[in-house]
């Protein structure tokens, strides 16, 4: 794991360049390829970019999409902001929790799914809405939400 993860860091730094303004794209790429940002990786990034590792940790921990703990292969983010809430976001959460056998915030034991809530994802006119990874699902019903999951099973 160590060797592999160091390679991802090198690859990301090589892709974007060592200057400070590339830190976000680098973190995003490592996060994407490795599923989450480990402390070792953050230290490696700091070393490669000649930054303090505390500084890199501070940046990574600021952003909600920069996961710092192992996550499922697929990340479900259900919008919890007001119009999605009004349109029945809770019943979508309930259906997904039941299907996956986990609670909000958890990851399935097979590491296929993590279930999270998100602030407004920009589909208020078609709520309830959710993201699975980068893909958007709108006008959800419990059935539609469960169907969406099946694409990733």
């Amino acid at each position: 794991m160590m060797q592999g993860s160091e390679n991802i860091v090198r690859k990301a730094v090589k892709t974007y360049g060592r200057s400070r303004e590339n830190l976000l794209p680098i973190l995003q790429m490592v996060r994407r390829e490795h599923n989450y940002l480990s402390e070792d990786q953050l230290r490696d990034i700091a070393k490669e970019m000649d930054l303090s590792s505390a500084d890199v940790y501070g940046v990574a921990s600021f952003y909600s999409f920069m996961d710092m703990q192992p996550k499922g292969k697929n990340i479900i983010r259900i919008c919890k902001t007001i119009t999605c809430f009004m349109k029945g976001k809770d019943s979508i959460v309930g259906a997904i929790e039941e299907t996956l056998g986990i609670k909000m915030g958890d990851t399935t034991p097979d590491r296929k799914f993590s279930l999270l809530e998100a602030n407004c994802i920009g589909w208020c006119h078609k709520g309830p809405a959710m993201l699975i990874n980068d893909k958007v699902y709108t006008e959800l019903t419990a059935e539609k939400a469960v169907q969406a999951l099946e694409e990733y099973m």
């Binding site: 952003y63 007001i82 119009t83 009004m86 709520g127 993201l131």
Partner: protein, 396 residues
Amino acid sequence: MVMTREEKLARINAHQDRVNLIFEQINYLDLMAKVMKLDNETMMQYIKESGLKGRGGAGFPTYLKWNLAAKQNSDMKYVICNADEGEPGTFKDRKILEEQSNKVFTGMAICAKIIGASEGYIYLRGEYNYLVPLLTTKMNDFNQDMKNLGLDFSLYLRSGSGAYICGEETALIESMEGKRGEARNKPPYPVVEGYLGKPTVINNVETLVYCAMIVLNEGGKFKTFGTEISAGSKVFSVSGDADVEGIYELELGMTIQEFVDLFGDGDTKAVQVGGASGFCVPRKNFKETIIGFEGVPTGGSMMLFNSTRSMYHILMNYLEFMEEESCGQCTPCRVGCQQLVKGIQAIKHKKRPATYLDELVKLAKSMRVASKCGLGQSVANPFISIVENFREEIIY
């Protein structure tokens, strides 16, 4: 007068078709050819006379912003398109980027030519990452087009990572520089010291498209819409308890009553204008409240609530949003948001007397004065406007 949904939709579409600037199909290469021939002063005159103000919500005159950046002496300048659309209830920039990205890019190129910038960045919120492949293709083609036209200007795309605060322009710059998205003290303003310390214009997606259309029409159509203070039109994101939801471009200056008659479900008790950082307008004020800078300003978010909704739940949802999205660097915002959430919960559960609400209003007012950036300063907007108009719903 009660209209059916179909009648409302027909009226709304007629209004939108009459305005139709943002989503009108144009040949952007023809426009860019025209831009290359026009001198910068002429284009600036069009923007100035249009009276265009920023469409992201803050409403700063676009001409002034561009003019300040143009005046700076610097080896590098930047144009940034703020596509970090995160205000609850706003989703119009997503559609503009999806359908009219070339017009957004053209607006950026016009700005770049005028102020003398050679690089442009689109800062796209992470929630819209599904747009990255499309935008990358369109952007690469556009960069080639600019080369062919002989304009030294290239576009780059940056993604956010789920932080609402990065829509604040100085937090956006910090994020682009690889830092935590924490707002800076102003001045210096980005037009003087922005990205990497260089003069930078940051405009909202919609503002840039209006600039392109204003130059295309040589002022023209845009100016014929709106009011003296709120010139032109605006793209609205309509959601909530509405017969008609979605994205519509309408003239500025209509009253909330006119808006509710068109979109509402006949039972609208309040409209939240401008999202979680905006103002709640109760039914009794619909007739006298103008949508625009002379009344309630908005980045486009219009959320309608009917009489079945609890204003306590709505306020709580906004406050929890702000509490989570506060960057935490300044105390008034960080602690203020937490105390407002705790405070209204305590009142609701009778752990505090109703009069405690007046203390919370004072706290919100302090946050308006003492917070470092727009996030903390604007928490008072929903808080005070909801508490003052729906006090009983918060207490009981």
